[in-house]
């Protein structure tokens, strides 16, 4: 492997410390860093805040982390696919912060691009805007939403070049590119690492400046 960013899955996941805020790219089971999550589950690292759209299904993918009691709190949009989340929340075992999906994506991007907060019409007047500043713009009520940042982002990309430039595959792209900008340490699980210059400079989605560690999927 000619990339200085390449690490084994185990070395990479060792960067996740107990109590960290971890972003994980995914929408359902599309575009999630499967081997990194398996390794995180195997590590037993706990007290985590997981920032992700959903939490897979019970015992599968990100769902394993909840089944394993590694999660203290969740920040995300949709846990209907994993009823263990509502259960753990109702029992007070975890805290859950629900955010509208578009606001969630935009707030993560905002952290990546240095925007601390923005106004959005989404959610105005609903329970999810409770306690948030609301202000009218052009006659429309808008909610002030703050950016969402993480200690570590675990993302899934299709190909990396040796520098760490990334491209994605179909709807597995989802939250991965915005999360790649919004964490102190960004670890990307990829299917292939290609020589520098193999990716079209016009089509690179995540520039290498954002990527700290590359791991490669074994299967």
């Amino acid at each position: 492997m000619a990339s200085d960013k390449y690490r084994s899955i185990e070395d990479a996941i060792a960067r996740v410390k107990p109590g960290s805020r971890i972003m994980v790219g995914s929408f359902g089971l599309a575009g999630y860093p499967e081997e990194l999550i398996e390794a995180l589950a195997a590590s037993g690292t706990g007290d985590l805040t997981i920032i992700s759209n959903d939490l897979g299904t019970p015992g599968v993918g990100l769902g394993k982390l909840l089944t394993n009691n590694q999660i203290r709190s969740l920040i995300g949009t949709y846990y209907n696919w994993n009823p263990e989340v509502a259960g753990a929340n109702n029992e007070g075992r975890i805290t859950v912060k629900l955010i509208p999906q578009g606001t969630f994506a935009e707030a993560i991007r905002a952290a990546g691009v240095g925007i601390p907060a923005f106004f959005t019409p989404t959610g105005a007047g609903t329970d999810l805007a409770a306690g948030k500043e609301t202000r009218e713009f052009a006659g429309r009520a808008c909610v002030l939403e703050e950016s969402i940042h993480a200690d570590v982002a675990l993302i899934k990309a299709y190909k990396a070049d040796e520098l760490g430039n990334l491209v994605y595959y179909k709807t597995a792209r989802n939250f991965n590119p915005v999360m790649a900008m919004a964490a102190d340490t960004v670890i990307a699980e990829v299917e292939e690492i290609v020589p520098v210059g193999s990716l079209d400079p016009e089509s690179i989605v995540t520039p290498h400046i954002y990527v700290d560690v590359l791991t490669m999927r074994k299967s």
Partner: protein, 227 residues
Amino acid sequence: MQAILEQQAKERIASVIARHFDSEAQNGRLFINLGVGIPTMVANYVTSPNIYVQAENGMLGVGCAAPEGQMDHDLINAGRTCVTETPGCVYMDSAASFGMIRGGHVDATVIGAFEVDQKANIANWIIPNGKQLGVGGAMDLVTGAREVVIAMQHTSKNGKPKLVKGCTLPITGIGEADMIVTEYAVFVFESGRLILKEIAPEITLDELRAITDADFDLSPDLHLMPL
């Protein structure tokens, strides 16, 4: 009032909405986003080549469901169904996709609802203290899409009206509903009033009022739902 079986009700709702979109698409391209359930079925009924489906998980130009044996689990819609590509389709990240929605570029969204009230408020995201905890893109879609079409059966499984005077469940958006299509009727909101536009042949106006809690007016061109 003649009962309509659930499957028939769903197909009817989807086909009525599809007819509405086919008509709108005569004026140019129409970009629509379809929620899970009945809304997704709308795609099976539209006939205009001018209609493009957007999926909020990051795709414009979503094709039909992938046939058995040709499923790619990294090519899904927001309901996690494996789908197909259409020529000229585009992939994008979630921020870009919701930007497209919030920015008002998507012409219409079709969603289900637990309740809709006569002030066009929609409740479709949560039943408090239940087994489900999620909002997904519901709030973004009702706020961002230019036209919000509610696709729902007229009453709940235990026969209670879903079209109510005031929502009792947590709302998804204030005054965002534009059109409501059930198996028995088509309503639109015009100047803040709920207006009955179409009524199904199986039901009388009095019977419709009996299963509708919300107050509504009759459209000057109220007519039978074409089936």
